[in-house]
Amino acid sequence: MNEKNKKVLSDKCTGLKPSGIRKFFDIVSEMKDAISLGVGEPDFDTPWHIRDEGIYSLEKGRTFYTSNSGLKELKMEIASYMKRTQNIYYDYNQEIFITVGGSEAIDLTFRAMINEGDEVLIPQPSYVSYEPCAILADAVPVIINLKEENEFRLKPEELEAAITDRSKILVLPFPNNPTGSIMTREDLKAIADIVIKHDLYVLSDEIYGELTYEGRHTSIASLPGMKERTIVVNGFSKAYAMTGWRLGYACGPKEIIGQMIKIHQYAIMCAPTTSQYAAVEALRNGDDDVSMMRESYNERRRFVVYTLRSMGLSCFEPKGAFYVFPCIREFGMSSEEFATRLLQEEKVAIVPGTAFGDSGEGFLRISYAYSLDNLKKALTRLEKFVNRLRRNREEQI
């Protein structure tokens, strides 16, 4: 079928590392009765009034493509959301467009902006797709390893040290998956100064922005001089519990957004129409749902941090997203080994920190997007496991 000198697969694609999550998933799915603290999505159902609008749009026969950039009503709602939450004015017509989840917006930002060899600065631990998407767009990913002693925030000196002549885009993934870390306005100011000084752009992934537990989320785009060099990526998955609807958006300078829409138009056509109608309802009437869910996550966040600390595991207090990132270095094994043994011995699935970058070594990502009952059960098992490891260690000494 193929001539011998023709390769079936792209080197760029085969060269990508398989996702660490995927690997762990394969182990976990063997174990049928495991309790999981491993998901990266809300445990709430999408609020009913939002689902109802989706259903209604189907009943009305709204089953066609929307314009490539998305429904006008939705883009206008997003513009008004950005104005009221961040006080940033975006032209809905040229500076906002609707994507298939935040992940598409990440991919398209790189594809629209990167020339071969441009460097993308990626703080880690962070969401799994920045690095491969950057590579697929012919960028050179430059990893910045965040540190626990800084509560996994990006420090100006860390950024400064990673910058070269080829640096182009800084990925800013806060509130952070997997650490739960956030960047305050002050933290962001220091970063913005460097970004402007070195003429960089920022891909600010704010998908967890609404899940901020102390104060309100600040977008770096709201700082002076930053709107014109920031692509804000956001979506409906986390704030409105709409992961399966696959709906996100990007806001940014019109030249960049225009190019992103061009790729989107060829590759995707438009984001799902049903989801877009549902999302209009989410933005118009969903504020109460968001605060109810935020309050509920916040309670569980406090519970998990308290329980982990009570069992003697050190963890900094995460102030965003729905993850806690405890340290397990004391046990002298890798995160992966710890997670695998925990799964085998106590049937609890927790994702090893290394799934989110090498700097996640020595940590676990605990998701608290679970009922309190589920959290209690799983954490009791974790405690049993931890105590057993400590006992064994003492016996060896």
Partner: protein
């Protein structure tokens, strides 16, 4: 009422078994604050009880619940209060609400049998002086009560591990 009171109420309205210590952890405060707040809420009659929701249907024990619309003549100077009191004093009466619209009081009633409920309505309720008329509705099936959907176990449909 402060913000803490409100959060406590929101939590224990859904699950009254959450203990003092757990409430303190969930709400990021200390046990003393929680105890003070709950005592105040109890003393002010804001917390009126800690009941359990039971689906009696599943127990096999016979119970009949009726919703009764009651039309009454309000009394001078007392309005509906006196007649409401006369009705709610019966232990078989579960709840009494003053209602706007086509009738005045809505009474819910629990009895062992249909006959028991109808005898209460005909012998006790209808014979009260101020009661002009009643309409009795028997509940055939409870789908949702106190925000809880009956007969539906929540199943986690998510993938077990995701990024």
């Amino acid at each position: 009422m402060n913000a803490l009171d409100e959060r406590i109420l929101a939590i224990i309205e859904k699950n009254s078994r959450v203990g003092i210590k757990e409430l303190a952890v969930l709400l990021g405060t200390n046990e003393e604050e929680v105890i003070n707040s709950m005592e105040r809420l109890e003393n002010n009659g804001i917390i009126c009880g800690y009941h359990t929701m039971i689906d009696w249907e599943k127990t096999g024990i016979e119970k009949v619940t009726a919703l009764i619309e009651v039309r009454v003549t309000p009394q001078r100077g007392k309005g509906f209060d006196e007649i409401a009191e006369r009705i709610y004093k019966y232990p078989e009466v579960n709840s009494v609400y003053l209602i706007s619209g086509g009738y005045d009081l809505m009474v819910t009633l629990e009895g062992k049998t249909l006959r028991e409920v109808s005898s209460f309505v005909t012998n006790k309720l209808s014979t009260l002086d101020t009661v002009i008329g009643t309409t009795t509705h028997f509940i055939l099936k409870k789908y949702k009560d106190h925000g809880t959907i009956m007969n539906k176990k929540h199943e986690d449909q998510r993938e077990i591990v995701t990024a």
